[in-house]
Amino acid sequence: MNVIVELEKPLLELEAKIEGLKKLNETQRVDFSAEIRALNEKAVSLEAEIFGNLTPWQRVHLARHPRRPLAMDYISKLDGFVELHGDRSYRDDPALVAGYAYLRGVPVFVLGQQKGRDTKENLYRSFGMAHPEGYRKAARIMRLAEKFGKPLLTFVDTPGAYPGIGAEERGQAEAIATNIKLMAGLRTPIVVNIVGEGGSGGALGIGVGDHIAMLQHAIYSVASPEAAASILWRDSTKAEEAAMRLRLTSEDLFEFGIVDEVVPEPMGGAHRDPAKVVDAVLAADARALDKLMSLKPEQLLDRRYEKYRKIGAHEEMVLDRAAR
């Protein structure tokens, strides 16, 4: 069960009550405006109480909220989106959507990891976990973007690359490795949006770029908290602790210089006002693209190289034979 769905229940009930009163107010010609005002104030303070100080683990659940906007919610708000299918080799992977569209008039190729809204769609989309053929479809689109000089816009929202027999047989590692290298050298601007879950190498498979925008309550992690707990302590129930330690929030990653921009969400999370969040993300992308499009390819690639080149955490040790 999603802990945020639990947490926000009293707030949703209160809001339903307010809506009910508002309707009465209009239809019954009785003046409930004072009550409504009081309940509204209560709602605001309840919202602040619930969402004002979320733990990392709660943030993880907010990023996985069942009503959170998904990749296609952003993509479908671009102008004239047309989906392009297939890796030309094995299968069209519905977990990774590809196509082209226009962002404020700028033609862009688009990639997005798409989760389902219900069980049926989740099975169809493998819960947003792409197979190698998904990453290879993405690679094909990347090469098209380079060939035709169109920027690439990606929307990251995946628990990770699909871990299964077929995925391993068909080279999940190779597919992701190829994409990361391809994006590192792609001669066109790349804007990456971390909109929900950024899960490990599966996220990075469409996540290397010139500008990394991250929604305030999205998460981005070296491994899902569950996987990290399993790897670190062979105990996936320690996921909450892992979430705390992994520093996977937008604030952490902005501080580390791993994301370039944090796009704010409304109090309570993106699902509380999806339209506004989608607009804010696309506006941020348009601003970023505008800046990147003015760079020459060599500048762009040098800048991208330096961006990743400097991410590290090493110190020089004074060599002391005894210490070794």
Binding site: E168, Q172, G185, G201, V222, F256, R309, E315, R324
Partner: protein
């Protein structure tokens, strides 16, 4: 194995195992083998041919003709997350140093292999399971950049559980950082050859591991992206025989060849010699930016 080369003697003695084990049990055939016999056999089981994991310094001794000029040898992690769980990260890495005799999970430098000058990076599973944090990423990047400057091939021997949890996203970003270096290196027409040894999974297989122009797998090595446990938990069905072994990957088209440890140096030298041999046309190599 050949007598200890100078560079290895300069590094000081090999670490002693914490317990004073005298023998190991072969996980494949159950044979009990004296450790000094095992070491003398390049850590290959004399009975069944099972390849035990090889420490980085032993691997370098196996591949390099003689001297080995290390780079980035004094880099240590900065503990960017100030990580502490049961044991603080800094204490864990201190333990790894004792266990592996290394400051980090990779040793990088320059040497020759059958007289061919190369840059060589070798990962060591004894240090944090060979995981890649900021130091591994930095040293791989330095190695590839320096290979580009020297116009020599780059060889990386992997052995890694993936990105290092204790460095969080700094760890994951090393996939992008090293891949950037590999991409630029490749554009110069210089070869990257990777040797995937047991185990190579996660972030290392999903970056430079599978970015080699030629990818060699060592016999019996476990290689893949997802760990077996994660796959088990996701699909809850029996995994096929030999799943994620080097031989399985060969059959599924993922690696160029599977090579036994005893043949590894010759196989690597053959590949390198071929790739750098004068061929057709002048490869359009940009001059290095700095010497």
């Amino acid at each position: 194995m050949t007598p200890t080369p100078n560079w290895l003697r300069r590094r000081g003695a090999k670490p002693q195992p914490a317990d004073d084990k005298l023998w190991e049990i072969c996980p494949s055939c159950g044979e009990r083998i004296y450790i000094k016999d095992l070491d003398a056999q390049q850590r290959v089981c004399p009975k069944c041919g099972h390849h035990f994991r090889l420490p980085a310094l032993d691997r370098i001794a196996l591949l390099a003709d003689g001297d080995f000029d290390e780079i980035g040898e004094n880099l240590v992690t900065g503990d960017p997350l100030q990580w502490s769980d049961r044991v603080p990260y800094r204490e864990k890495t201190q333990g790894d140093r004792t266990k592996s005799g290394l400051l980090e999970a990779i040793v990088a430098g320059f040497c020759t292999v059958e007289q061919i000058p190369i840059g060589l990076g070798v990962m060591d599973f004894n240090f944090r399971g060979g995981t890649m944090g900021g130091v591994v990423g930095e040293k791989v990047t330095l190695l590839v950049e320096e290979c580009a400057r020297r116009r020599v091939p780059c060889v990386i021997v992997t052995s890694s559980g993936g990105a290092r949890m204790e460095e969080g996203m700094i760890g994951l970003m090393q996939l992008a950082k090293t891949s950037g270096a590999v991409e630029r290196f490749g554009a110069l027409g210089l070869p990257l050859v990777t040797i995937l040894t047991d185990p190579t999974t996660g972030g290392v297989s999903a970056s430079f591991g599978f970015q080699g122009d030629v990818v060699i797998a060592e016999s019996g090595a476990a290689i893949g992206f997802a760990g077996r446990r994660v796959i088990d938990q996701t699909i809850r069905q029996k995994l096929p025989e030999g799943f994620q072994t080097a031989e399985f990957l060969l059959e599924h088209g993922q690696v160029d060849m599977v090579v036994r440890r005893s043949d590894m140096k010759a196989a690597l030298a053959s590949v390198l010699r071929f790739l750098i041999a004068k061929g057709y046309g002048a490869v359009d190599v940009a001059r290095p930016k700095s010497a």
